[in-house]
């Protein structure tokens, strides 16, 4: 480098001249850079062969790589490489691992599952994740529900029945809650009396005179509350009519009201306005039978099952 090089060995220029005499040297690229570049070219060619790459017409070059996985039924599935198959391979790893447990769930009865320590542990973990994904959006994380919207699954008060079979039925077929709007058949005073009577049944503060009148109305043909709620007001599980005597509220937000008037007003609102918004989705078809069975036991074991 310190020697004088003859003219013929000077670095070549690109050959183009700007503005008369402005030229650019054509120095060689660094060797390491050039060979790294060649390596990336080879890498690209290999990659294009193995994985899906160039589109052709309406399709594309699929690549020689395959994804194979075993699903929970024991079938081996092979797909040409795509990200959905990757996802299925991942999901099926879990499904295959869970299959022995789900098989046992199908074979055992509800009581057996609830009383077996191993199965009980599986129900708690699998049930918790199934519940969180499907049920918690409405019934909240622990199943405690929201007053005015979704029932509390952890207490021992059930609209349609809290046995394993009844819970299963609710999950499979869904439920539709309905109460007529009594403002169409009763006047304000009558509704007020009924509200005070219902409040008295749960031990809430009430106007005693109005409650006595409401008592009579409850069992009369005018209001006919006893048709659905029975004359003892304990409710009918075959109709989904709640027990009015236990101070557990789903639709009337009695716990939120601070004063007696507020509580009675909440009850009045339900009687007058009726209820048509209780809709529990039907999960058969959306969840597999084993998953519904897991959820049945899980909900039953949330503490209120019968």
């Amino acid at each position: 480098m310190s020697e004088q090089k003859p003219q013929s060995q000077t670095v070549q220029t690109t050959g183009h001249a700007w503005d008369g005499d402005l030229q650019e040297y054509n120095n060689p690229l660094p060797v390491w850079w050039v060979y790294t570049f060649y390596a990336t070219v080879i890498f690209a060619l290999v990659y294009w062969t193995i994985y899906p790459s160039w589109p052709i017409g309406k399709g594309w070059i699929g690549g020689v790589s395959n994804i194979t996985y075993v699903n929970s039924e024991g079938e081996t599935k092979t797909h040409s490489w795509n990200t959905r198959a990757l996802l299925m391979a991942d999901m099926n790893k879990a499904a295959v691992a869970q299959k022995p447990y789900f098989d046992k769930i199908q074979a055992m009865s509800y009581e057996q599952i609830a009383n077996d320590p191993d199965m009980s542990g599986f129900i708690i973990s699998a049930g918790r994740s199934l519940f969180a994904e499907n049920c918690a959006a409405c019934h909240q994380a622990g199943g405690q529900g929201v007053i005015g919207f979704f029932p509390n699954l952890t207490d021992d008060d059930w609209l349609y029945g809290g046995s394993f079979e009844k819970i299963h039925e609710t999950l499979m077929d869904g439920r539709r809650g309905y109460m007529p709007a009594f403002s169409e058949v009763l006047n304000g005073e009558q509704i007020d009396q009924l509200a005070n009577y219902v409040a008295s049944l749960s031990g809430i503060g009430h106007d005693a005179i109005k409650a006595r009148a409401g008592d009579v109305l409850f069992r009369s043909e005018t209001a006919a509350c006893f048709y659905c709620h029975t004359s003892e007001a304990t409710g009918r599980q075959d109709m989904g009519a709640p027990n009015l005597t236990n101070n557990i509220w789903l639709w009337a937000n009695v716990p939120a009201a601070d004063t007696t008037e507020g509580k009675v007003a909440a009850i009045r609102g339900v009687i007058a306005g009726g209820l048509n918004k209780g809709a529990m989705p039907a999960w058969s078809g959306r969840l597999s039978p084993e998953q519904i069975k897991v959820l049945t036991v899980y909900v039953h074991e949330l503490g209120g099952g019968q």
């Binding site: 009383n115 542990g121 622990g142 405690q144 952890t154 503490g303």
Partner: protein, 478 residues
């Protein structure tokens, strides 16, 4: 070497082989004893049998797939990782403590690099002979003798490295089975890869790189040197005695006795060069304390041997402290531990070791976690009762199956509902989850702030464990 080409000076210094002479003496004996003891433990321990219920019959087994370490009668679960952390801390503090006292003694006697290098040099010595023979062999061109001897040495080194790597993986699986599987091609890929890596690294580190590991690679050498103090014992050449007024001199005629040498003002060092020849890192300790010196003490033995043959007093090279050597009349070297730093490390060591022993000794046979289910905090039931629910997880850490009984203290007995699980049987190493529900009438609920859940291994009331849990009710602050 060519001249006139200054730009030939590169940045790479090719290793000059160090061919050490063997020596006998106190420190050589100590080094060999440590080697034999360490090798005995390392190579024989995986083969020690130990009868177990549900694990292979090996005394020391790090069962990674089973998530447990089996060390004689103790099963260590992942929850006890704090023991491992403590052990590592103790090892570090022990190193700092010992370094403050005797310098790089770990490097010279205990480090596995030193142990394996020493062993490999011994193999080399046995096949190729003493130092003069090895030097001659090194300089000689590649003929049949050299091929056989050098090839044989390296072959034995590879064999030793292979057995070292194999022994390492024997700690992680049942040794007899793994040995069989390994050589019939049935072992797991991880075994082959690990043994491959360890064989290669042992052969390269102990056979080819040797002292370069200590000099260039190992971080211990760097920070160990920083931990020296003027009172630390290190290998020192007593230059005052060895050089005296007119330096060292060979023991020719007229300079053979001490009296003659002192009259002439000559030092006690007879410049035999033996200390350089035995040094495994190839330094001359007479130049003073150097970063390469690993404090192995072989030069001390070498010099003492020569001193004995001349009937001179021993200790021309000895373990001594800088402070002592700087005194006008040095006293006999001894370990000076009455320093704040040393005492501090010692106290820390004692405390941590005591805690580790205590922790291991009092580790219960089962682990439990009790948590209140907080979604929802409480539920009002149809008869007005308030109910709280709790999740109890019990892990059985004993070596046999155990049944546990769960009960409560501080609430009426009828309030606790455990379903079918008031007694639960758990296999060793497994855990189980029990959901307990406690329901109290509203008046009692308002007065109950907390109560105890008690878990008792059946038949062992002394090992019962109680946990306080809250009871929540409407109106109470969460």
């Amino acid at each position: 070497m060519q001249t006139g080409l200054e730009d030939q000076l590169g940045l790479y210094q090719k290793r000059i082989p160090i061919l050490t002479r063997s020596v006998k003496g106190r420190f050589r004996r100590f080094k060999t004893s440590v080697l034999v003891l360490a090798y005995a433990i390392y190579f024989l321990l995986p083969w020690l049998p130990w009868s177990r219920l549900d694990a292979p019959a090996q005394a020391v087994l790090f069962d990674l797939p089973g998530r447990r370490f089996l060390i004689f009668g103790l099963t260590v679960y992942p929850q006890e990782v704090i023991w491992l952390a403590l052990l590592l801390f103790i090892a570090a503090i022990l190193l700092f403590f010992v370094t403050g006292l005797v310098g790089r003694a770990f490097c010279g006697y205990f480090c596995f690099q030193t142990l394996w290098t020493d062993f490999f040099i011994w193999i080399e010595h046995k096949i190729q002979g003493e130092r003069p023979a090895r030097v001659r062999l090194y300089r000689q061109p590649w003929d049949r003798e050299k091929l056989l001897k050098v090839g044989g040495t390296h072959a034995l080194w590879v064999l030793a490295s292979l057995w070292t790597g194999l022994t390492f993986v024997f700690y992680f699986a049942y040794a007899p089975q793994l040995l069989l599987d390994f050589f019939t091609g049935q072992a797991a890929p991880a075994a082959y890869i690990t043994v491959g890596i360890l064989t290669l690294s042992t052969y390269v580190a102990a056979g080819l790189m040797r002292e370069q590991i200590c000099t260039y690679v190992c971080p211990y050498g760097r920070f160990q040197s920083v931990m020296y103090e003027p009172e630390t014992l290190a290998v020192h050449y007593d230059s005052r005695r060895g050089e005296a007024a007119h330096g060292r001199a060979a023991a020719r005629a007229g300079q053979r006795t001490l009296a003659e040498r002192h009259e002439k003002g000559l030092g006690d060092c007879v410049d035999c060069g033996l200390c350089e020849q035995v040094c495994p890192v190839g330094i001359d300790i007479r130049d003073g304390l150097q970063y390469k010196c690993i404090s192995c003490g072989l030069c001390i033995d070498a010099c003492n041997t020569i001193m004995d043959s001349f009937s001179f007093p021993r200790g021309l090279i000895r373990y001594d402290s800088e402070k002592n050597l700087a005194l006008p009349t040095p006293v006999a070297p001894k370990i000076q531990w009455k320093r704040l730093k040393t005492i501090g490390y010692g106290v820390a060591l004692v405390l941590m070791s005591a805690y580790l022993v205590y922790s291991v000794a009092t580790r219960g046979d089962f682990d439990r976690t009790v948590n209140q289910i907080r979604q929802p905090l409480y539920v009002m039931l149809s008869n007005g009762d308030i109910r709280n629910r709790y999740q109890i997880r019990i892990t059985n850490k004993a070596a046999q199956t155990q049944t546990y009984e769960i009960s409560a203290r501080g609430i009426p007995a009828v309030a606790l509902d455990l379903g079918n699980f008031s007694e639960i049987t758990i296999k060793p190493g497994h855990s189980a989850l029990v959901q307990a529900s406690v329901r109290l009438p509203p008046t009692v609920a308002a007065q109950t702030q907390r109560f105890e859940l008690v878990i008792t291994p059946q038949g062992k009331p002394a090992e019962a464990n109680a946990e306080y849990v809250r009871f929540d009710a409407p109106g109470k602050r969460p």
